[in-house]
């Protein structure tokens, strides 16, 4: 006999029932865990991508102004631009920035020369480079030969690398090269007194839209202004979509598999006599549903926890994370990701709704179909009859 416990008898009996049909329960467990793993991995990945981006971009400027002409981007005269921007109320500390994309040893790299381009949060106490030196991102550092880096095609510049950006800022600094303005200007085709663009912070972020129009009118040449919420929105959409596609691609098929397995595990005609017997002893259909739901919970909760834990490991534990990122993003470079608790909670809710609810409904419907006959009819399935 079973030892005394403090669990409700129905739960104990559900556990005993699982033990009686161990193989089927294992099958269900494996199916559920892998389904949760795949879903949660995709969702956690997109959440983490999003959260990481948000963290890195926290100090990014609200608006960026670039001068354009017939041929595309044009250099921005610093003094004129600063004077124009300062006239607009609500604009605070307009900062000219020096940066651009130049050819590197292995594909293009982003050269930055003013600190305004690189948010504080990414620097983590790295000292700024002096003349002839550079700080580079992980992607650039990989292609280095002997600590020296040469950039540019016609005005080639060679610098020595003194530092690399920390790995967990990879999403923003992967292909970055940070050098002094004097080293960078020839590479970017600028003369002193010119800048690539003008970064602007706003007193009230809600006024973003109104100020954009004022700014555009204030400059003597045509400009293009990009705001933060548009770029953040684009990024958010992209991150969510990468998770969504993975879900859409794999989940419905797996869900169907889960429903079929649940159907066969929960319901089989050999148990009809068992249900009939229970009913003849005073069990109601609702009791049987409770029993089956308890069974499903005992198998399901550990399976969900295991699936979530392994998905967490796959997204955030470095060696596995590389493979995951490769799989989910289709081979882009790997950022080190952070998770925010609200995002994690949202993933939990989404998993509960997408996997938990259909699973419970399948358990419920199959139980109902098997057990809602009259006890006499059910008892007739007994081999003795």
């Amino acid at each position: 006999m079973m030892p005394g416990t403090r669990y409700p008898p129905m739960v104990i009996w559900a556990a005993r029932d699982i033990q009686r049909h161990c193989g089927r329960s294992m099958l269900l467990f494996a199916c559920l865990a892998s389904l949760v793993f795949l879903t949660a991995m995709a969702l956690l990945f997109s959440q983490a991508l999003d959260a990481t981006w948000e963290r890195l971009m926290d100090q990014a400027p609200d608006l960026v102004v670039r001068r354009i002409d017939g041929g595309g981007w044009a250099p921005l005269p610093v003094d004129v631009a600063m004077a124009c921007a300062k006239k607009i109320p609500g604009v605070i500390d307009p900062t000219p920035r020096l940066w651009g994309v130049v050819p590197g040893p292995e594909g293009p790299v982003t050269v930055v020369a003013s600190i305004a381009v690189v948010p504080e949060s990414m620097l983590k106490g790295i000292p700024p480079p002096s003349a002839g030196q550079a700080v580079v991102g992980q992607g650039v550092a990989r292609a280095l030969s002997g600590g020296r880096l040469s950039l540019g095609s016609n005005h080639s510049v060679t610098v020595s690398v003194i530092h690399t950006f920390p790995a967990d800022t990879g999403l923003a600094t992967h292909d970055l090269v940070w050098m002094t303005p004097d080293d960078a200007r020839p590479l970017l085709g600028l003369v002193p007194g010119q800048a690539s663009d003008l970064a602007v912070h706003l007193f009230r972020r809600e006024e973003e839209r109104a100020i954009q129009a004022d700014l555009a009118a204030a400059f003597p040449w045509p400009v293009r202004i990009t705001d933060r919420s548009t770029s953040a929105l684009n990024h958010h959409t992209r991150a969510v979509r990468s998770g969504g596609i993975a879900v859409v691609a794999g989940i419905p098929a797996l869900l169907a598999l889960l429903l079929i397995i649940t159907g066969t595990v929960v319901d089989n005609t050999a148990r009809q006599a068992y249900w009939g017997l229970l009913k003849s002893m005073g069990w109601t259909t609702a009791d049987m549903v409770r029993l089956q739901v308890s069974r499903a919970m005992i198998v399901g909760i550990p399976a969900v926890v295991l699936g979530l834990a392994s998905a967490y490991a796959a997204v955030f534990y470095p060696p596995a994370a590389g493979i995951t990122a490769f799989w989910v993003t289709g081979g882009q470079h790997l950022p080190a990701l952070t998770l925010v608790s609200s995002g994690a909670a949202m993933v939990m809710i989404e998993i509960a709704a997408m996997v938990g609810l259909p699973f419970l409904a399948a358990v419920f419907l199959t139980t109902l179909r098997a057990a809602d006959g009259s006890p006499w009819t059910l008892l007739q399935a007994d081999p003795w009859n």
Binding site: M2, A273, S280, T284, T285
Partner: protein, 235 residues
């Protein structure tokens, strides 16, 4: 004779569904009162319909006409949502026992108790008591399919009694028993009745017919239950 306590059959008719209308019904116009605190014995030849009557009384089968009343309530007319939980007051011993072979003896006794609002330790206590009464204490952890026929039958009786039912319906409870155990089972059923239960035994075992703990004897033949009128007022 109080009508409100016990099991009462009123004009009970039963015909198996799908059988020809010109065939005689299994039960016809059965009037009977199985009063509280009494042991009733229903005898009859094989195939006369004793088991069918038991199933009707337990609410497992539906009468084609007439009603079964329990404690003044027409339970046979209740919808299944109410009849199913009412059956918690019924302990039925099936003729073919209907034990679950891969469960242990103790677990078979646990089955009727699980949906009831009693604690786990209470359940264990009741099971222990019931196993002692049935003389099966030593076999509590044995799988049911290792028991002898008689032991299995005693287990089936213990399962019917373990939740202290108000109505005990025993179909051939002594079929596989030696004389000693048959007497013991009769005494056990009488004790239950003295505590206030309604006990109905369906059997053609001659040993039961001569047992003196029986309060009422009914005979079932050609679809009618006789002997019913002896101790009974008009329903």
């Amino acid at each position: 004779m109080e009508l409100n306590a016990g099991l009462v059959c009123r004009g009970l008719n039963f015909r198996w569904p799908g059988k020809n209308a010109d065939e005689p019904p299994v039960l016809e116009a059965v009037e009977a009162v199985f009063a509280q605190g009494t042991v009733s014995l229903v005898t009859g030849n094989t195939g006369s319909g004793k088991s069918t009557l038991m199933h009707l009384l337990a609410g497992l089968l539906h009468p084609t006409a007439g009603e079964v009343w329990a404690d003044g309530q027409p339970v046979s007319r209740w919808p299944s949502r109410h009849r199913d939980p009412w059956r918690r007051q019924v302990g039925i011993v099936f003729q073919h026992l209907a034990l679950i072979p891969d469960l242990t003896v103790g677990e078979n006794l646990l089955l009727p108790m699980i949906p009831r609002p009693i604690t786990w330790s209470r359940m264990q206590e009741e099971i222990r008591r019931q196993l002692e009464d049935a003389g099966l204490s030593a076999l509590a952890d044995a799988p049911t399919n290792t028991l002898s026929g008689g032991q299995r039958q005693r287990l089936a009786i213990a399962r019917a009694l373990v939740a202290r039912p108000r109505f005990v319906l025993a179909d051939e409870p002594t079929a596989f028993q030696d004389d000693h155990h048959a007497a013991r089972i009769c005494a056990q059923l009488c004790d239950i009745a003295r505590e206030g239960a309604v006990v109905v035994i369906g059997s053609h075992d001659p040993r039961l017919r001569s047992f003196d703990g029986i309060d009422r004897r009914f005979h079932l033949a050609s679809a009618t239950l006789t002997g019913a009128a002896v101790n009974q007022g008009a329903p």
